[in-house]
Homo-oligomer: 187 residues x 2
Protein backbone atom coordinates (compact mmCIF):
# COMPACT_ATOMS: atom_id res chain seq x y z
CA UNK A 1 0.00 0.00 0.00
CA UNK A 2 1.11 3.56 -0.77
CA UNK A 3 0.54 6.01 2.07
CA UNK A 4 0.58 9.78 1.62
CA UNK A 5 1.54 11.46 4.87
CA UNK A 6 -0.17 14.75 4.14
CA UNK A 7 -3.48 16.43 4.83
CA UNK A 8 -3.02 18.84 1.93
CA UNK A 9 -5.88 18.51 -0.60
CA UNK A 10 -3.47 19.73 -3.31
CA UNK A 11 -0.93 16.96 -2.61
CA UNK A 12 -3.76 14.43 -2.57
CA UNK A 13 -4.98 15.61 -6.01
CA UNK A 14 -1.45 15.61 -7.40
CA UNK A 15 -0.76 12.06 -6.25
CA UNK A 16 -4.19 10.97 -7.52
CA UNK A 17 -3.13 12.29 -10.95
CA UNK A 18 -0.64 9.40 -11.18
CA UNK A 19 -3.60 6.96 -11.28
CA UNK A 20 -2.22 4.95 -8.35
CA UNK A 21 -4.16 3.66 -5.34
CA UNK A 22 -3.10 5.24 -2.08
CA UNK A 23 -4.35 6.20 1.35
CA UNK A 24 -3.86 9.48 3.20
CA UNK A 25 -2.62 9.41 6.78
CA UNK A 26 -2.38 12.18 9.32
CA UNK A 27 1.05 12.64 10.82
CA UNK A 28 1.41 14.84 13.83
CA UNK A 29 4.80 16.31 14.59
CA UNK A 30 6.22 19.74 15.38
CA UNK A 31 7.57 21.09 12.08
CA UNK A 32 10.70 22.76 13.35
CA UNK A 33 14.20 22.49 11.91
CA UNK A 34 17.74 23.42 12.98
CA UNK A 35 18.35 27.09 12.16
CA UNK A 36 21.66 26.43 10.33
CA UNK A 37 19.86 24.56 7.52
CA UNK A 38 19.71 26.31 4.14
CA UNK A 39 17.70 25.84 0.91
CA UNK A 40 16.76 22.27 -0.02
CA UNK A 41 18.05 20.92 3.31
CA UNK A 42 15.05 22.49 5.07
CA UNK A 43 12.21 20.69 3.22
CA UNK A 44 14.30 17.49 3.12
CA UNK A 45 14.72 17.63 6.89
CA UNK A 46 11.00 18.27 7.43
CA UNK A 47 9.91 15.51 5.03
CA UNK A 48 12.14 13.04 6.93
CA UNK A 49 10.85 14.30 10.28
CA UNK A 50 7.27 13.56 9.19
CA UNK A 51 8.32 10.13 7.88
CA UNK A 52 10.07 9.17 11.10
CA UNK A 53 6.96 10.02 13.12
CA UNK A 54 4.98 7.40 11.18
CA UNK A 55 7.64 4.80 10.37
CA UNK A 56 6.61 2.35 13.15
CA UNK A 57 3.20 1.88 11.44
CA UNK A 58 4.67 0.60 8.17
CA UNK A 59 4.33 -3.05 7.21
CA UNK A 60 6.16 -5.09 4.62
CA UNK A 61 5.12 -3.82 1.11
CA UNK A 62 4.10 -0.39 2.41
CA UNK A 63 5.67 2.84 1.24
CA UNK A 64 5.10 6.21 2.86
CA UNK A 65 5.39 9.47 0.92
CA UNK A 66 6.06 12.62 2.93
CA UNK A 67 6.91 16.03 1.53
CA UNK A 68 7.51 19.62 2.45
CA UNK A 69 7.55 22.69 0.20
CA UNK A 70 9.27 26.02 0.82
CA UNK A 71 9.88 29.22 -1.08
CA UNK A 72 13.54 30.23 -1.14
CA UNK A 73 14.37 33.79 -2.16
CA UNK A 74 17.64 35.63 -1.71
CA UNK A 75 18.96 33.21 0.90
CA UNK A 76 15.79 33.38 2.98
CA UNK A 77 13.11 30.77 3.62
CA UNK A 78 9.43 31.64 3.21
CA UNK A 79 6.93 29.20 4.66
CA UNK A 80 3.25 29.75 5.40
CA UNK A 81 2.35 33.32 6.38
CA UNK A 82 1.06 33.90 9.89
CA UNK A 83 -1.70 36.35 8.88
CA UNK A 84 -2.96 38.50 5.98
CA UNK A 85 -0.43 41.22 6.65
CA UNK A 86 2.43 38.75 6.58
CA UNK A 87 1.01 37.31 3.32
CA UNK A 88 1.01 40.80 1.74
CA UNK A 89 4.61 41.38 2.82
CA UNK A 90 5.72 38.05 1.33
CA UNK A 91 4.05 38.84 -2.00
CA UNK A 92 5.67 42.29 -2.06
CA UNK A 93 9.03 40.55 -1.62
CA UNK A 94 8.37 38.10 -4.46
CA UNK A 95 6.93 40.77 -6.82
CA UNK A 96 8.95 41.59 -9.95
CA UNK A 97 11.63 38.96 -9.42
CA UNK A 98 12.54 35.28 -9.50
CA UNK A 99 12.50 32.86 -6.57
CA UNK A 100 12.83 29.14 -6.07
CA UNK A 101 10.19 26.70 -4.90
CA UNK A 102 11.80 23.62 -3.35
CA UNK A 103 9.94 20.46 -2.42
CA UNK A 104 11.68 17.81 -0.34
CA UNK A 105 10.20 14.33 -0.72
CA UNK A 106 10.93 11.30 1.43
CA UNK A 107 10.00 7.73 0.47
CA UNK A 108 10.04 5.37 3.44
CA UNK A 109 9.55 1.61 3.57
CA UNK A 110 9.97 -0.66 6.59
CA UNK A 111 13.55 -1.33 5.45
CA UNK A 112 14.84 1.86 3.86
CA UNK A 113 14.44 5.56 3.19
CA UNK A 114 15.16 7.63 0.05
CA UNK A 115 14.94 11.40 -0.16
CA UNK A 116 15.20 13.90 -2.96
CA UNK A 117 14.53 17.58 -3.49
CA UNK A 118 13.21 19.22 -6.65
CA UNK A 119 13.62 22.93 -7.39
CA UNK A 120 11.51 25.07 -9.73
CA UNK A 121 12.31 28.68 -10.56
CA UNK A 122 9.29 31.01 -10.62
CA UNK A 123 9.36 34.52 -12.10
CA UNK A 124 6.73 36.97 -10.88
CA UNK A 125 5.74 40.10 -12.80
CA UNK A 126 5.60 43.34 -10.83
CA UNK A 127 2.44 43.06 -8.71
CA UNK A 128 0.52 46.20 -7.79
CA UNK A 129 -0.67 46.85 -4.24
CA UNK A 130 -4.26 46.51 -5.49
CA UNK A 131 -3.49 43.11 -7.01
CA UNK A 132 -1.81 41.84 -3.83
CA UNK A 133 -4.69 43.09 -1.66
CA UNK A 134 -7.31 41.57 -3.95
CA UNK A 135 -5.57 38.20 -3.93
CA UNK A 136 -4.91 38.01 -0.19
CA UNK A 137 -8.43 39.08 0.76
CA UNK A 138 -10.25 36.94 -1.77
CA UNK A 139 -8.07 33.81 -1.80
CA UNK A 140 -6.77 33.72 1.80
CA UNK A 141 -3.44 32.05 0.99
CA UNK A 142 -2.48 31.47 4.63
CA UNK A 143 -1.97 27.73 4.13
CA UNK A 144 0.53 28.19 1.30
CA UNK A 145 4.32 28.53 1.35
CA UNK A 146 5.28 31.98 0.08
CA UNK A 147 1.63 33.10 0.43
CA UNK A 148 0.56 32.06 -3.06
CA UNK A 149 -0.92 29.19 -5.02
CA UNK A 150 0.38 29.14 -8.60
CA UNK A 151 -2.91 27.51 -9.66
CA UNK A 152 -4.91 30.48 -8.29
CA UNK A 153 -5.64 33.97 -9.64
CA UNK A 154 -2.24 35.32 -8.61
CA UNK A 155 -0.54 32.58 -10.63
CA UNK A 156 -2.67 33.44 -13.66
CA UNK A 157 -2.06 37.18 -13.61
CA UNK A 158 1.34 37.28 -11.94
CA UNK A 159 3.58 34.40 -12.98
CA UNK A 160 5.48 35.28 -16.16
CA UNK A 161 7.13 31.91 -16.40
CA UNK A 162 8.74 29.01 -14.60
CA UNK A 163 11.74 26.78 -15.14
CA UNK A 164 11.21 23.19 -14.05
CA UNK A 165 8.18 21.28 -12.80
CA UNK A 166 4.87 23.14 -12.43
CA UNK A 167 3.39 20.49 -10.13
CA UNK A 168 6.41 20.88 -7.85
CA UNK A 169 5.31 24.48 -7.25
CA UNK A 170 1.86 23.17 -6.30
CA UNK A 171 3.50 20.89 -3.74
CA UNK A 172 4.63 17.58 -5.25
CA UNK A 173 7.14 16.87 -8.07
CA UNK A 174 4.95 14.11 -9.52
CA UNK A 175 7.11 13.17 -12.50
CA UNK A 176 10.20 12.56 -10.34
CA UNK A 177 8.05 10.87 -7.70
CA UNK A 178 6.65 8.53 -10.36
CA UNK A 179 10.13 7.48 -11.51
CA UNK A 180 11.20 6.84 -7.90
CA UNK A 181 8.04 4.81 -7.17
CA UNK A 182 8.71 2.79 -10.33
CA UNK A 183 12.24 1.98 -9.09
CA UNK A 184 10.72 0.68 -5.83
CA UNK A 185 8.08 -1.32 -7.73
CA UNK A 186 5.08 0.78 -6.67
CA UNK A 187 4.24 2.22 -10.12
CA UNK B 1 -17.91 42.99 -23.16
CA UNK B 2 -15.08 40.47 -23.52
CA UNK B 3 -15.81 37.65 -25.98
CA UNK B 4 -13.84 34.43 -26.10
CA UNK B 5 -13.98 32.95 -29.58
CA UNK B 6 -13.38 29.36 -28.52
CA UNK B 7 -15.40 26.28 -27.68
CA UNK B 8 -12.52 24.75 -25.75
CA UNK B 9 -13.51 24.07 -22.12
CA UNK B 10 -9.82 24.44 -21.16
CA UNK B 11 -9.57 27.95 -22.64
CA UNK B 12 -12.83 28.88 -20.93
CA UNK B 13 -11.48 27.73 -17.54
CA UNK B 14 -8.19 29.53 -18.12
CA UNK B 15 -9.86 32.82 -18.98
CA UNK B 16 -12.25 32.39 -16.05
CA UNK B 17 -9.16 32.17 -13.81
CA UNK B 18 -8.52 35.88 -14.48
CA UNK B 19 -11.77 36.69 -12.59
CA UNK B 20 -13.14 38.71 -15.53
CA UNK B 21 -16.65 38.56 -16.99
CA UNK B 22 -16.77 37.22 -20.51
CA UNK B 23 -18.94 35.36 -22.95
CA UNK B 24 -18.02 32.45 -25.22
CA UNK B 25 -18.93 32.60 -28.88
CA UNK B 26 -18.75 29.94 -31.53
CA UNK B 27 -16.75 30.91 -34.60
CA UNK B 28 -16.99 28.74 -37.66
CA UNK B 29 -14.18 28.90 -40.19
CA UNK B 30 -11.99 26.41 -42.00
CA UNK B 31 -8.73 26.25 -40.02
CA UNK B 32 -6.28 26.06 -42.90
CA UNK B 33 -3.10 28.08 -43.37
CA UNK B 34 -0.59 28.73 -46.17
CA UNK B 35 1.94 25.90 -46.25
CA UNK B 36 4.97 28.22 -46.24
CA UNK B 37 4.20 29.40 -42.69
CA UNK B 38 6.56 28.24 -39.94
CA UNK B 39 6.49 28.15 -36.12
CA UNK B 40 4.63 30.99 -34.39
CA UNK B 41 3.31 32.33 -37.70
CA UNK B 42 0.93 29.36 -37.93
CA UNK B 43 -1.08 29.88 -34.69
CA UNK B 44 -0.92 33.67 -35.22
CA UNK B 45 -2.44 33.25 -38.68
CA UNK B 46 -5.16 30.92 -37.39
CA UNK B 47 -6.02 33.16 -34.42
CA UNK B 48 -6.44 36.10 -36.85
CA UNK B 49 -8.49 33.97 -39.22
CA UNK B 50 -10.94 33.14 -36.42
CA UNK B 51 -11.06 36.81 -35.38
CA UNK B 52 -11.81 38.03 -38.88
CA UNK B 53 -14.74 35.61 -39.18
CA UNK B 54 -16.42 37.27 -36.17
CA UNK B 55 -15.23 40.87 -36.47
CA UNK B 56 -18.47 42.20 -38.03
CA UNK B 57 -20.37 41.28 -34.82
CA UNK B 58 -18.25 43.50 -32.57
CA UNK B 59 -19.69 46.69 -31.09
CA UNK B 60 -17.98 49.65 -29.52
CA UNK B 61 -16.41 48.52 -26.17
CA UNK B 62 -16.26 44.88 -27.23
CA UNK B 63 -13.04 42.91 -27.42
CA UNK B 64 -12.74 39.47 -28.95
CA UNK B 65 -10.07 36.97 -27.86
CA UNK B 66 -9.14 34.24 -30.32
CA UNK B 67 -6.27 31.81 -29.99
CA UNK B 68 -4.65 28.79 -31.55
CA UNK B 69 -2.09 26.40 -30.04
CA UNK B 70 0.38 24.17 -31.86
CA UNK B 71 3.23 21.88 -30.95
CA UNK B 72 6.43 22.66 -32.85
CA UNK B 73 9.17 20.05 -32.88
CA UNK B 74 12.22 19.84 -35.13
CA UNK B 75 10.78 22.23 -37.72
CA UNK B 76 7.47 20.39 -37.94
CA UNK B 77 3.99 21.36 -36.80
CA UNK B 78 1.87 18.98 -34.74
CA UNK B 79 -1.81 19.81 -34.42
CA UNK B 80 -4.64 17.54 -33.27
CA UNK B 81 -4.17 13.87 -34.12
CA UNK B 82 -6.62 12.30 -36.57
CA UNK B 83 -7.02 9.02 -34.66
CA UNK B 84 -5.52 6.93 -31.82
CA UNK B 85 -2.76 5.61 -33.99
CA UNK B 86 -1.74 9.10 -35.04
CA UNK B 87 -1.81 10.14 -31.37
CA UNK B 88 0.55 7.28 -30.45
CA UNK B 89 2.95 8.26 -33.25
CA UNK B 90 2.98 11.89 -32.09
CA UNK B 91 3.77 10.88 -28.51
CA UNK B 92 6.57 8.58 -29.71
CA UNK B 93 8.03 11.59 -31.55
CA UNK B 94 7.84 13.81 -28.45
CA UNK B 95 9.17 11.12 -26.07
CA UNK B 96 12.60 11.73 -24.51
CA UNK B 97 13.12 15.20 -25.96
CA UNK B 98 12.16 18.85 -25.84
CA UNK B 99 9.56 20.58 -28.02
CA UNK B 100 7.86 23.96 -28.13
CA UNK B 101 4.22 24.75 -27.51
CA UNK B 102 3.24 27.99 -29.23
CA UNK B 103 -0.04 29.81 -28.69
CA UNK B 104 -0.99 32.66 -30.99
CA UNK B 105 -3.48 35.11 -29.49
CA UNK B 106 -5.40 37.82 -31.28
CA UNK B 107 -7.23 40.67 -29.55
CA UNK B 108 -9.75 42.38 -31.80
CA UNK B 109 -11.89 45.44 -31.19
CA UNK B 110 -14.12 47.24 -33.68
CA UNK B 111 -11.21 49.60 -34.41
CA UNK B 112 -8.02 47.58 -34.08
CA UNK B 113 -6.29 44.24 -33.79
CA UNK B 114 -3.25 43.16 -31.74
CA UNK B 115 -1.60 39.77 -31.94
CA UNK B 116 1.13 38.04 -29.99
CA UNK B 117 2.58 34.56 -29.69
CA UNK B 118 3.92 32.93 -26.54
CA UNK B 119 6.28 29.95 -26.58
CA UNK B 120 6.86 27.42 -23.81
CA UNK B 121 9.51 24.69 -23.98
CA UNK B 122 8.37 21.29 -22.72
CA UNK B 123 10.76 18.41 -21.94
CA UNK B 124 9.33 14.90 -22.00
CA UNK B 125 10.98 11.95 -20.28
CA UNK B 126 11.37 8.75 -22.33
CA UNK B 127 7.86 7.30 -22.51
CA UNK B 128 7.40 3.54 -22.75
CA UNK B 129 5.05 1.97 -25.29
CA UNK B 130 2.87 0.79 -22.39
CA UNK B 131 2.65 4.34 -21.02
CA UNK B 132 1.73 5.79 -24.42
CA UNK B 133 -0.92 3.10 -25.00
CA UNK B 134 -2.40 3.54 -21.52
CA UNK B 135 -2.66 7.30 -21.98
CA UNK B 136 -4.11 7.29 -25.49
CA UNK B 137 -6.72 4.62 -24.69
CA UNK B 138 -7.76 6.00 -21.35
CA UNK B 139 -7.56 9.77 -21.99
CA UNK B 140 -8.44 9.97 -25.71
CA UNK B 141 -6.32 13.08 -26.46
CA UNK B 142 -7.70 13.52 -29.99
CA UNK B 143 -8.78 17.12 -29.32
CA UNK B 144 -5.30 18.22 -28.21
CA UNK B 145 -2.39 19.64 -30.20
CA UNK B 146 0.52 17.20 -30.02
CA UNK B 147 -1.85 14.52 -28.64
CA UNK B 148 -1.35 15.40 -24.98
CA UNK B 149 -2.77 17.50 -22.19
CA UNK B 150 -0.06 18.60 -19.75
CA UNK B 151 -2.71 18.67 -17.01
CA UNK B 152 -3.51 14.99 -17.55
CA UNK B 153 -1.77 11.76 -16.48
CA UNK B 154 0.83 11.97 -19.26
CA UNK B 155 1.85 15.43 -18.02
CA UNK B 156 2.17 14.10 -14.46
CA UNK B 157 4.30 11.07 -15.29
CA UNK B 158 6.03 12.30 -18.44
CA UNK B 159 6.88 16.01 -18.29
CA UNK B 160 10.26 16.50 -16.62
CA UNK B 161 10.07 20.26 -16.81
CA UNK B 162 9.03 23.30 -18.76
CA UNK B 163 10.50 26.72 -19.51
CA UNK B 164 7.92 29.49 -19.72
CA UNK B 165 4.20 29.62 -19.03
CA UNK B 166 2.43 26.44 -17.92
CA UNK B 167 -1.01 27.80 -18.82
CA UNK B 168 0.25 28.53 -22.33
CA UNK B 169 0.78 24.78 -22.76
CA UNK B 170 -2.84 24.25 -21.69
CA UNK B 171 -3.94 26.67 -24.41
CA UNK B 172 -3.87 30.28 -23.24
CA UNK B 173 -0.95 32.42 -21.99
CA UNK B 174 -3.08 34.05 -19.30
CA UNK B 175 -0.43 36.26 -17.70
CA UNK B 176 0.51 37.91 -21.00
CA UNK B 177 -3.17 38.08 -21.98
CA UNK B 178 -3.94 39.84 -18.69
CA UNK B 179 -1.27 42.50 -19.32
CA UNK B 180 -2.58 43.08 -22.85
CA UNK B 181 -6.19 43.34 -21.64
CA UNK B 182 -5.05 45.85 -19.00
CA UNK B 183 -3.44 48.00 -21.71
CA UNK B 184 -6.76 48.01 -23.58
CA UNK B 185 -8.68 48.84 -20.40
CA UNK B 186 -10.48 45.49 -20.07
CA UNK B 187 -8.72 44.28 -16.89
Amino acid sequence: MIYLGSQSPRRRELLAGLDLDFQCVKIECAETYPSHLQGADIPLYLAQLKANAFHHNLKHNDVLITADTIVWCDGKMYGKPTDENHARLMLQTLSGREHEVITGVCLTTKAEQRSFAVTTKVRFAKLSEAEINYYVERYQPLDKAGAYGIQEWIGYVGVEGIEGSYFNVMGLPVQRLYTELKKLGYA
